[in-house]
Symmetry: C2
Subunit: 257 residues, 2 copies
């Protein structure tokens, strides 16, 4: 099977121009077919603040109301996506910026209202791998923002880690997928701040219980292990520099025997 | 040759939700391969105002500075483009939202500084018709915002009428192209406000001199006649209702013998 690189970038990698440009140059130089998924960093919050939009919080969780969905669509699918695409073009990488609505590639459903109403947040329902493969065969590099859509034409805000993991899992039948979550750390760190180079799910559960792994790292790793379980060949968490020099250490997930 | 519909929508058609939804439903129902190009209506100005960005004017002309380019990218390539794509998907039309940077389809150059420095405004240099045809062959409906890019990765703001006319001209060798500029009027009106159903270039020149045709209609018609001269089979100016019922009158351009 042909190797397919799926690279998720987010957080400070998006916010720091220098880091973003370096990562994009490294992505452009990867010889294999590849897909890039980007988060939004702090730009959406900054724009919302400038527009006087107050974050809606319910039970300590951020809710995507209509105004915030507009901001997310403008920042993720507009500003970040198109600047990333144009930057990749300047490095000779034929990028194609996409939201889930484009070519109906990632359809979602609005998260059902349970204890919390998350607002315009989408849970992925279906990935159209045929069209995605057709784009890869045309030599294109799909670049996804994490905006998806519902059958009725509603746009939805989706978690970018989940989107990357779901794309990887959906394509695992056709390609030997290598999924890399690129962020500001070298990988997953233990209680002493030392890099864990090989992480299995049992260790993850233990470190989670011990609160060594906390906050945003928990859903990120849940997504990552889900991708591994779904047949993704390699799942890694690595820093932006890793892409430039893959002799550097990073965290590779290993399946529990 | 196969027929290809290229439809440009702009102005009030974008601003009035009801008009936009009707037009998109009509576009979705066109049986032929099709490309949609959209302008921005007044949304970019509204957002700029809310952000406290003052329009930069030089010699009475609006200039796209860096802040305004960001706003244009967010509104045109983000908010409008993705909502249009999702709406078309809800009508069963497999839309693919694009800027010129995506798949390197429309490359531009920053307009040289002459008497006026227009800022980040792009003049189209090259259209990649091979990739565009490949998308059409996949059954996709490309939906363009008028954001283009330069070789060095710079995004540029481009006139949407010019973009639609240039796409039409570039594809005229491969398809029997029918280009329709959809806007708030029934077409081009004469001095008495009566619709001109067939307009040749000589009449256009005369009406321009008599100031019957003025302002934004002049560059629109210049673009339209340029497309006709470049081999586009049919060039029309029509109202949003025309797409729903093409027995209604509109303005069709005719080549001067």
């Amino acid at each position: 099977m042909q190797t397919l690189e799926i690279i998720k970038i987010g957080g400070k990698v998006i916010d720091v121009g220098m880091s973003l440009r370096k990562v994009l140059q490294a992505v452009a130089q990867l010889p294999q077919p590849k897909i890039l998924v980007h988060g939004g960093g702090s730009m959406a919050s900054t724009l919302a603040e400038r527009l006087g939009i107050t974050p809606v919080m319910v039970a300590g969780r951020r809710v995507t109301d209509a105004a915030m969905l507009d901001v997310a669509t403008m920042v993720y699918a507009g500003k970040i996506n198109k600047n990333v695409v144009a930057d990749l073009q300047s490095h000779g990488c034929n990028a194609l910026g996409l939201s889930g609505a484009d070519a109906a590639i990632i359809r979602a459903v609005k998260r059902p209202v349970g204890d919390i109403d998350y607002g315009f947040v989408g849970d992925i329902e279906q990935v159209n791998t045929d069209t995605l493969s057709a784009f890869l065969e045309l030599g294109l590099t799909p670049v996804f923002s994490a905006i998806t859509y519902q059958r009725d034409g509603l746009l939805l805000n989706t978690n970018a880690d989940t989107l990357a993991a779901t794309l990887a899992a959906s394509l695992a039948g056709q390609y030997a997928v290598r999924l890399t979550f690129v962020f500001e750390k070298a990988g997953v760190l233990d209680a002493k701040g030392k890099l864990i180079t090989r992480l299995d799910e049992a260790t993850f559960m233990r470190l989670k219980q011990e609160k060594v792994i906390a906050d945003g790292m928990i859903p990120k790793l849940e997504n990552a292990f889900a991708a591994l379980a779904a047949g993704v060949q390699t799942v890694r968490l690595a820093s932006d520099i890793y892409l430039l020099n893959n002799k550097l250490p990073c965290t590779t997930l290993i399946a529990t025997p």
